[in-house]
């Protein structure tokens, strides 16, 4: 390992996460000493590794959909032809964000049934707003003179978007995706209430059974995942910085 990887906080957070995943199942005596009144101090219904994978899958799928829709909608409403829809689209998305995900689940489950779909829908609705807003903010912050020059020297609308607007707005847009993903890592825990596997399972089961150890194990892993993803976005931002100069 080079010095650079050693100094990188992302390396350390991932190592700590991996160590926890390996050690938690063997930490029975440690948790027993912390919570002596608990009969089963380690969550063993499923492996933590499988839960981390399921959690990541849930966040990945919902954030990918939210990014796709948020960015496309953001681009659309900042074009001259889409400008009149900007207010209505922002309003709809803001309403989506105001609905607590738990309420979305409560409404979605009777319609869609139990399972992954309502959970994904709730996470998607909750995640679109920051992405849409950052896309709009990023695109409208492109200097007027730069866009005027781009059009004036003969770039088509598509070329202005690809070569000027998106590269200049990219850091702001990615910041929105980052916020959205981090929020969703936390929110994905509630998917467990409708029977979807995620790191929320130990938390929900722990809450129902008054088992603090379960809650702690789920929460620590979720927190570490959020930190790791946040640091990973730092990396993405520096890639973006290099890409936009091409």
């Amino acid at each position: 390992m080079t010095m650079r990887t050693l100094r990188d906080p992302l390396t350390w957070v991932v190592l700590v996460l991996a160590a926890l995943l390996a050690l938690l199942p063997r930490a029975e005596s440690f948790f027993a000493s912390l919570f002596p009144w608990l009969e089963r101090p380690i969550y063993r219904q499923e492996s933590f590794l499988a839960l981390v994978g399921a959690h990541l899958g849930l966040v990945g799928a919902s954030s990918a959909a939210a990014s796709l829709i948020g960015i496309i909608a953001g681009i659309a409403v900042t074009r001259p032809s889409g400008a009149e829809f900007r207010a209505i689209v922002t309003t709809i998305v803001t309403v989506g964000q105001t609905f607590p995900p738990v309420a979305v689940l409560a409404i979605a489950v009777p319609v869609m049934g139990f399972g992954t779909l309502p959970a994904l829908a709730a996470l998607f609705l909750y995640g679109v707003l920051p992405i849409l807003e950052s896309t709009i903010a990023g695109l409208t912050a492109v200097p007027v003179a730069v866009r005027d020059a781009a059009r004036g020297i003969g770039m088509s609308d598509g070329a202005v978007l690809r070569r000027v607007d998106l590269p200049l707005a990219a850091p702001v847009i990615i910041a929105g995706v980052r916020t959205s993903v981090i929020i969703n890592v936390g929110t994905a825990a509630i998917a467990a209430t409708v029977g979807v596997r995620s790191l929320g399972l130990p938390i929900i089961i722990g809450l129902n059974a008054a088992n603090v150890a379960y809650v702690l194990q789920g929460a620590v892993l979720i927190g570490l995942m959020a930190v790791a993803l946040d640091l990973a976005f730092e990396r993405v931002l520096s890639w973006i910085e290099r890409w936009r100069r091409l």
């Binding site: 003179a145 730069v146 004036g152 003969g154 770039m155 590269p167």
Partner: protein, 309 residues
């Protein structure tokens, strides 16, 4: 050749450009001058279709611009604006290459053209090629802006107050640069400014705009000696119109060739106004005229400045 026929642009009830008819010949340095809000920029942006006509027609080489592909039209006319608008995420080289890149030129040709333009605009390529716009002074940025506009060898240049944001010294340098580019390339240049001195210095013909209309078109001398109304008169300056007139002619136009007389010298390229200023400064009625190499080629007398040609 660019032809305006009753070209009009309305915003609601207000006509920013109101029934303008003009003919700009190939190779002219045509300056549109007027106070802010007169419609100069709007008129300029109507030529490359950035602002469409509400009524009337604009033709380029006899073809209505509405029948032309907007992007092709804009690539035929380089575009330079006051706020410059360099692409902040690209190097100088990439900025200049923007249009050739859109046109799909091969990399070798783009590189050769970029280097040639940096040379033309007196930017050392070893220093500037890989710099980003924010690392340049405003004057250097506008040099790159002009290079970008010239990159694909357009038929003409549209320039919207390109030097208005520059300090006087940089502005003068760039004015000389654009005049020499015009002489060297013979490209049509359409140049918008609110600065009458700039117009007089650069233009082969000037159009004066007021409230969306063209109130007078003519050479600098015509505007100065026969202003068509009070607005034009106020623009050319009541008191120093005569001095402005002197600045439109060069020493070379009025000098007497032969052996030089006079203790102080002036170059043949200098304006008559500079010659007069020199005479006043050194209290001399005659100056020796030298060429660029410093050789004496003639004389100019204070009477030569006043004499009707």
């Amino acid at each position: 050749m660019i032809e305006f026929e009753q070209a009009t642009r309305r915003y609601g009830d207000i006509a920013a450009v109101d029934g303008v008819s003009l003919r700009i010949e190939r190779g002219e340095f045509f300056v549109i001058v007027g106070s802010s809000g007169a419609g100069k920029s709007t008129l300029l942006r109507m030529i490359n279709g950035l602002i469409p006509c509400s009524a009337g027609t604009i033709r380029i080489d006899g073809r209505d611009i509405r029948t032309l592909n907007a992007e092709d039209l804009r690539r035929r006319l380089g575009y330079v604006i006051q706020s410059i608008g360099l692409f902040p995420h690209w190097t100088v080289a990439r900025n200049i290459a923007a249009v050739p890149d859109l046109l799909g030129w091969p990399a070798e040709k783009i590189r050769a053209r970029t280097l040639a333009l940096l040379l033309l605009l007196k930017l050392d390529h070893e220093v500037y090629l890989n710099k980003y716009p924010h690392q340049l002074s405003i004057g250097q940025q506008q040099r790159v802006g002009i290079a970008r506009a010239l990159a694909a060898d357009p038929e003409g240049l549209l320039m919207d107050e390109p030097f208005a944001a520059l300090d006087p010294i940089t502005r003068e340098a760039l004015q000389r640069e654009i005049a020499s580019i015009h002489r060297g390339s013979g490209k049509t240049i359409i140049f918008v400014t609110h600065d009458m001195n700039e117009a007089l210095m650069l233009a082969s013909r000037i159009a004066v705009m007021d409230q969306g209309r063209v109130v007078q078109v003519g050479t600098a001398a015509e505007l100065l000696t026969k202003p068509s109304n009070d607005f034009v008169r106020s623009l050319v300056g009541r008191d120093d119109a005569g001095l402005m007139l002197l600045s439109t002619e060069k020493v070379a136009d009025r000098m007497r060739h032969g052996a030089g007389e006079g203790e102080t010298s002036i170059t043949a390229e200098a304006s008559l106004r500079q010659a007069l200023s020199r005479m006043l400064l050194v209290r001399a009625e005659r100056l020796a005229v030298v060429d660029n190499a410093g050789r004496t080629i003639g004389t100019i007398d204070i009477g030569d400045l006043v004499r009707r040609r």
